[in-house]
């Protein structure tokens, strides 16, 4: 799966938690969930649960600590799925 495909899949997971959907138009690896997409920090937990479900993985609390942007989320997913 290409980087773009991975970002697009993540975008679908994030979408329900972004109030202003236009913010999703130009997301890339540097996009920050809270600062750039205005995701409520409570919804960050929901996103992490949804990522776990979508990829059938478990994300530990220590890993969750840095999962604040698209790039680090993809990095964690890749490390758990070998893709």
């Amino acid at each position: 799966m290409s980087k773009t495909d991975k970002i697009n899949r993540l975008k679908e997971i994030i979408k329900p938690y972004v109030e202003e959907s236009s913010k999703l138009d130009h997301i890339d690896e540097s996009t920050k969930f809270i600062d750039d997409l205005a995701v409520n920090s409570a919804h960050l937990v929901d996103i992490i649960l949804d990522v776990e479900d979508a990829y059938n993985i478990r994300i530990e609390n220590e890993e969750m600590e840095n999962m604040l942007d698209v790039g680090s989320a993809i990095q964690i997913i890749e490390s758990k799925t070998d893709s």
Binding site: P16, H43, V45, L49, E62, E65
Partner: protein, 176 residues
């Protein structure tokens, strides 16, 4: 001066966490000691714990100018009574106060130097209200590289903490 605040609009409760009360979600927010309490207490009490954790995170991040991180489990909450609570992180103990009614839960760091919390409806409204407190012209708010907000005043910066959920937007700062 330490500031840190968080609000939950209870009429938007279902939008706070999509799966609140789900054990998997709780394990990502609460430590073992808290989990034992969360299983027995009212949902609003658990939501109050979340506001304590968020307020403490904001205060602690500012205190040490830390990069953003997300680890709510690392903050332990200790609720004393309907208003008072403590939040503990890395050996630091913060005292907090909560105002709660059927519409909202609002928690902020308790500050003996009389910090104030004000509601606002927009950035413009906040700027105007701050101007009234500081008796100077339009006031701007900036955010540093870690996204920590401050009020820009004539001779420097003053800490401010901002929280927004549903219908409520509240700022905490010290007008002195």
């Amino acid at each position: 001066m330490i500031v840190g605040n968080d609000v939950i609009d209870l009429t938007h409760q279902k939008y706070i966490f999509r799966q609140f009360s789900c054990h998997r979600l709780n394990k990502k927010i609460f430590n073992l000691q808290e989990l034992a309490l969360v299983n027995k207490e009212a949902v609003t009490t658990s939501l109050r714990r979340w506001t304590i954790k968020e307020s403490v995170y904001k205060a602690y991040q500012r205190l040490y100018q830390l990069k953003p991180r997300f680890n709510p489990v690392s903050i332990h909450t200790d609720i004393i009574d309907e208003e008072l609570s403590f939040g503990l992180i890395q050996g630091h103990k913060f005292k907090l106060q909560t105002h709660q009614n059927h519409k909202m839960i609002y928690t902020s760091i308790f500050d003996q130097l009389s910090s104030v919390s004000i509601t606002y409806s927009s950035k413009k409204d906040l700027s105007k209200k701050l101007s009234d407190y500081f008796l100077i012209g339009p006031i701007a708010i900036c955010k540093d590289r870690n996204n920590i907000p401050s009020i820009i005043i004539v001779n420097g910066y003053k800490p401010i903490s901002l929280t927004h959920h549903g219908r409520f937007q509240i700022a905490q700062f010290n007008p002195l």
